[in-house]
Symmetry: C2
Subunit: 354 residues, 2 copies
DNA sequence: CTGAAAGCGCTTACAG
DNA sequence: CTGAAAGCGCTTACAG
């Protein structure tokens, strides 16, 4: 292994000078710089990050703490991760996905070892023990998501309010007046405090009321099967519905296939608009789904930037909320004129009319 | 920060003794042990991993190198990662997902910094520049996947041969004689040397020949749309087909929805058997797909164990190949008696018979 | 079984 | 602008 000592010797300078140059922490004359850089090149020197970390107390490693066992790592998560990693790399940090349980025990363990400078927290619960651990240990962190009490926490999150408002507005403008929200299943103890579900449902109830729409919310867990069952119930219990908002990705796929199976034409008879989906998932369906696109790339980057600013002692960024944006597809259309009593009808049959 | 020095002082021993105890590297009397352990507990001591790494030249960090930009991080990858991380934790290593491009440049950069003890390589190409980098730098590593030349490389991989043999055998035993493999698209330059595709297709040609079956292979990239198009072509060009093997996950979803859309009953008229899929993806369809289940959990664990054995200087594990296993669902059945010329037929109509 | 001391490869006041 | 030296918090021969 070639060390800074070797470089310094070959360049005829002290290791301090090499270090100053490398970190750009003190001015160095052009001549010295040239000699040192040549020596580094000749020797193929690479600075040892572990030694640097010990001396400077900064590892330049950011952990994206992910509760791998509790939450499936889906397409959306992959987006957050990828964009966060890119943002970190630009600032000369390593961002890695670190699997830790969401009870805070493993996270405390990890932080105690001094391996990471900061943490980006995903899948934040409304009252998250990991946040307590991060505070207690004085670790810089940023949330992607939000806890209930937010004072002084740097965080970025989806702007659920705007997302729901835009989605409802879009459907309303098309002429829909009978909407249903297929929400998350807040009765599930694992999710009763899961921010995205709570916030979306709250926003929907408020905004539907503002629009003077009847408020129909159906709980539904995030699986294709559950989505299909929700479609069944919906057709039974709310036959006048013309548009469906679906909170969860896999549930949305199920709602669509459920409706199709029941012979309902989408979007001819019913429009379906998922509220938080990535294009990869939308593309699982053909024709492709109209969706509100999860702002994963933006949030991953903003969250990481917010953390790095803390680490660098820069002024903190204000909390950022980013809405999902309408991403056009083929599953939302204007409602048809009131349908004939015959109902049903086989798929495709009326496509020309819609 | 409480250091080993603090613990030693409080326990009235030297820091060497604390270290010996902590690492279980030299015997310590029960009395001493008790004093030190009490001191550690009282002070809430946690060993600094960075200092330890510098002194011992081992960081205990394993990087799962993942080409995030080139490959989508899907459900299967998540499985590998989760099980690998668990295996590492058991052996007191950290396994983290480290995004690096698959050309070897970023990997070389990373290895030069001395932050990781070893690497688990995913999405291995048949001729992988990252393997060269790992060899040149003398980094211990294990492959999940295989390069063409394998001498001396510790690796684990899917047993494509057994997987295909079992899949074909299963269909054959049910009575199927007209099979088609919807393969990967090896014409795509990004994948022409992608091991799983090459190996699966090779195995299929060989094994179908052994069974005396007509050999029909259709290239198809891994998207739902491509799968649907493949279904269209297949119905046109090979109308006598009774069973379809599909290599890729998303293509498989497309094949099924494509067939359904064309009015073909699955499995009444056509059985569909994906060769490498995880149950999460199978559950996106309802009824759930019959699949050959990717052995992600096994491979993640075996790959990590193989690497850790190297790191610990234990005897290397022999390369391991693990087949995907049949995972029952509702999309494979015996072929029907030769179908009437009328063809088509609406879905569900004949279910009672199949 | 235990300790004193060197050393891992850097950074960073401090001095000039 | 550059250098000598202390120090980051551990591990590990070496000696006893």
């Amino acid at each position: 292994m070639v060390t800074m000592r070797d470089v310094a010797d070959r360049a005829g300078v002290s290791i301090a000078t090499v270090s100053f140059l490398l970190n750009d922490t003190k001015p160095v004359t052009a001549a010295t710089r040239a000699r040192v850089e040549q020596a580094m090149a000749e020797l193929g020197y690479r600075r040892n990050a572990v030694a640097r970390a010990l001396a400077s107390r900064r590892t330049h490693i950011i952990a994206m703490a992910y509760p791998a066992l509790e939450h499936r790592f889906g397409m959306s998560t992959a987006e957050f991760f990828t964009s966060a990693a890119e943002a970190a790399r630009k600032e000369a940090y390593h961002l890695v996905l670190w699997p830790v349980g969401n009870d805070g025990v493993e996270l405390r363990e990890l932080l105690g070892q001094g391996l990471v400078d900061g943490v980006v927290l995903m899948e934040v619960q409304l009252d998250d023990p990991r946040v307590d651990v991060l505070r207690e240990t004085g670790t810089p962190f940023a949330l992607i998501g939000r806890t209930t009490e937010l004072e002084g926490l740097s965080h970025v999150d989806i702007d659920f309010d705007t997302t729901v408002r835009d989605a409802v507005g879009h459907l309303y403008d098309l002429g829909h007046r009978e909407l249903v929200l297929v929400s998350g299943d807040l009765a599930d103890p694992r999710f009763h405090a899961y921010g995205p579900w709570v916030r979306t449902e709250d926003a929907y109830r408020r905004i539907a009321a503002e629009y003077g729409l009847p408020i129909v919310v159906m709980p539904c867990s995030d699986t294709t099967q559950a989505g299909q069952e929700a479609a069944d119930r919906l057709i039974q219990e709310h036959p006048k519905t013309t548009a469906i908002l679906v909170l969860n990705e896999y549930a949305a796929l199920g709602v669509i296939s459920g409706l199709t199976r029941l012979g309902r034409d989408v979007p001819g008879e019913l429009s379906v608009l998922p509220l938080l989906m990535v294009p990869e998932t939308a593309a699982l369906s053909n024709p492709e789904l109209t969706i509100m696109r999860t702002p994963g790339p933006e949030l991953g980057q903003l969250g990481t930037d917010a953390l790095i600013r803390q680490l660098e002692g820069a002024d903190p960024l204000p909390p950022q909320l980013v809405p999902a944006k309408l991403y056009p597809g083929a599953t939302v259309a204007a409602p048809r004129a009131p349908r004939s009593k015959g109902g049903g009808g086989r798929r495709g049959e009326r496509k020309a009319r819609s």
